[in-house]
């Protein structure tokens, strides 16, 4: 059903984002018979999302602050291209009340909550206050932005941290995706962490406010997918566990969160709906909680937008969250399908995983690894979904988030889903840039993860030690390159030709399925 049944028909949507999420939204639009408009920066003129959309419009130079983060450029692009709605994706402007307000002023539908809700939820301090007022337990911490301008102020922040108890977590009020977050173990490091977190937050979000929360050792990150319509209905569509993180950046997500009874799921979902109702949530959002080792759910924040890991919930519920976002934006009430999925959400019957493949080097502390993608062969087959924003020849720019693709799997239960994930990871071939693929292959075999019984947000920091993995692989790489070289035709032959199939010396090599292309992929 196209979202025309509401009172705001949407025929054309501008996507104020890039990469895999822009492609994801374009796909949903196409399925609903809605035209898509890609907004692109100069760096993305030939990007997958730009070419995939029905229409495209340039919004500025490569740096996000001159393109994807410019509210006026985005709204002007929508107006120029005749789009009735703007979908912000995640990150960039997705949680900025300014964009929602500018849309209102320009008569454009913002696919997301109202500006008031965004102000209340996007500011994590305001969200903490709202949750506390509604009686939802929050992580112990401060309720005001930390001031560090003067020596007295810095001393006061240290006193606050001591009241909370070390270690503390410095968090950005406008944060998301782990940016602007620092764990601090001692008073001496606090001022430095606050100022560097504030600077990172200011650069990433245009807001440098930071505050303190208690850092909970061995906690789990669980979250609840929410949908709300403008008629006052809010439902929880199930939960996810996103404990596999590094520096507060999620690497792997799964749904449902393992080890919760239906009663505990019901309790968690109700807390999320309570927070959302307090701020009049509409459209899609995710309420994040810390699950303490003692089994308490402490509210962290609400991300009032589509979440990166929304796909695992889609797999589990058969609900297309982007379709629903567009229907809600058109003014429709929550559909019967959504209500039925919400009613069944406490008793999930299948299991889904997502791993994030990023252009980062897991051997060097996940340092960014921009470059040009050579080979790109994504897995397929039963129960596998790949959402990506790149292909062979794509440039991975240092200007943007390094996420290349999300590999998701669905199976009857957690062990079957793990086996399927292992199978799919074994099919993924990526060349040209280093990715997080080897980390994911390693993770599958870690008992703490595979059992699902020892998940915690510090699992990666405790267990990931790639030195021996990478040096073993390097030796193997040396051997296989030498073997390939020795079996290559001598320079006198035509350069770059593939050995004939019947060639005795080379046939074993080729027959073994080792692919040696004649040229590097474009």
């Amino acid at each position: 059903m196209a979202p025309d049944a509401g009172h705001r028909p949407i025929k054309r949507v501008l996507i104020a984002n890039r990469g895999e999420i822009a492609v994801r939204i374009i796909r949903a639009c196409r399925e609903l018979g809605i035209e898509s408009v890609a907004a692109y920066s100069d760096a993305d003129a030939a990007a997958v999302h730009t070419l995939a959309a029905d229409h495209r419009v340039r919004i500025g130079p490569a740096p996000p602050t001159e393109s994807y983060l410019r509210v006026e450029a985005i709204v002007a692009a929508a107006t120029e291209t005749g789009a009735q709605a703007i979908h912000p994706g995640y990150g960039f402007l997705s949680e900025r009340a300014e964009l929602a307000e500018a849309c209102q002023a320009a008569g454009i539908v913002f696919v997301g909550p109202t500006p008031q809700t965004l102000s209340a939820l996007g500011d994590k301090l305001a969200a903490r206050a709202a949750a506390a007022r509604a009686g939802v337990p929050i992580v112990p911490g401060t309720m005001q932005p930390a001031a560090i301008g003067s020596a007295e102020e810095r001393e006061e922040v240290v006193r606050q941290a001591e009241r909370i108890g070390w270690p503390v977590l410095v968090k950005a009020a406008a944060g998301g995706g782990g940016r602007g977050m620092r764990r601090v173990d001692a008073a001496a490091d606090l001022a430095g962490a606050l100022s560097s977190a504030a600077r990172e937050a200011a650069a990433a979000f245009g807001n440098g406010q930071v505050y303190l929360e208690r850092f909970v050792e061995r906690g789990r990150h669980v979250e609840v997918q929410l949908l709300g319509d403008e008629h006052g209905s809010i439902v929880a569509l199930g939960d996810r566990d996103c404990s596999i993180q590094r520096r507060h950046q999620k690497l792997v997500e799964e749904a449902p969160a393992p080890g919760l009874t239906p009663d505990r799921r019901t309790e968690l979902h109700a807390l999320a709906v309570t927070v959302a109702a307090t701020v009049g949530l509409r459209n899609a959002a995710t309420a994040e909680f810390l699950l303490t080792p003692d089994g308490e759910f402490w509210f962290l924040e609400v991300n009032a937008r589509l979440q990166v890991e929304h796909g695992v919930t889609e797999l589990l519920t058969d609900i297309d969250l982007v379709h629903e976002q567009l229907r809600i934006a058109a003014g429709e009430p929550l559909s019967d399908r959504v209500l039925a999925a919400a009613a069944a959400a406490a008793r999930p019957t299948r299991h889904a995983f997502e791993v994030r493949l990023s252009a980062e080097d897991p051997a060097t502390d996940f340092a960014p690894a921009p470059g040009r993608i050579g080979r790109w062969r994504a897995p397929a087959g039963p129960g596998v979904r790949v959402d990506s924003g790149v292909g062979e020849g794509s440039e991975v720019s240092p200007d943007y988030d390094p996420l290349l693709a999300k590999l998701m799997v669905l199976a009857a239960d957690r062990p079957a889903a793990l086996a399927r994930l292992g199978r799919a990871l074994g099919e993924f071939e990526i060349g040209g840039v280093q990715t997080t693929l080897p980390f994911h292959r390693w993770l599958l075999h870690q008992p703490a993860f595979a059992s699902g019984e020892d998940l915690s947000t510090d699992l990666v920091a405790r267990l990931w030690d790639p030195a021996s993995l990478v040096s073993r692989a390097a030796l193997r790489a040396a051997e296989l390159a030498a073997k390939a070289d020795a079996e290559r035709p001598p320079p006198s032959a035509v350069a770059g030709t593939r050995p004939p199939a019947g060639d005795d010396a080379a046939s074993a090599w080729w027959a073994a399925g080792i692919s040696v292309a004649t040229e590097r992929q474009p």
């Binding site: 051997e479 390159a481 001598p490 080792i514 004649t518």
Partner: protein, 161 residues
Amino acid sequence: MSGRARLRVTVAGPAPLLVQLDHDHLSALDPARAGELVSVLPAGATDATLGRRAYEVVIDGWRFDVTVEPAARAELRERAARAADEHHAEARITLRAQIPGRVVRLWVQPGEAVVQGQRLLAIEAMKMENEIRAPRPGVVEDLRVELGQRVERGDELLGVS
């Protein structure tokens, strides 16, 4: 198999490696182990006159830039280079940008003495700060960048002598 001589193989990256492999070793090598994900692709222009050929090898997701050349040639080349370089043994180290990005922190000034591991500057890429530290004790010279400047991969940042 063509090429009876030993091969010199250089692997660049986080686990730099230099090995010499002989014909027998390579013949005995299993090209595909169970569960292993491998791709070997010739990379870039090969320098036929030097006999050096470049490959991109990905093993279980670990990606390496690998160069292969006859060991005899490599030794000849190194002898020549050593002769030319003899009196620059303790030459300064030039630090280059390993990733493109922007210089967001600069902790040192030209002429400043630094200890090994001391933070020199930070480059922001993909919104994360990446610190560059002194690889050994020395004096900062030839500071080529300033705060806020954009750098490309391979750009000279500074020297430590």
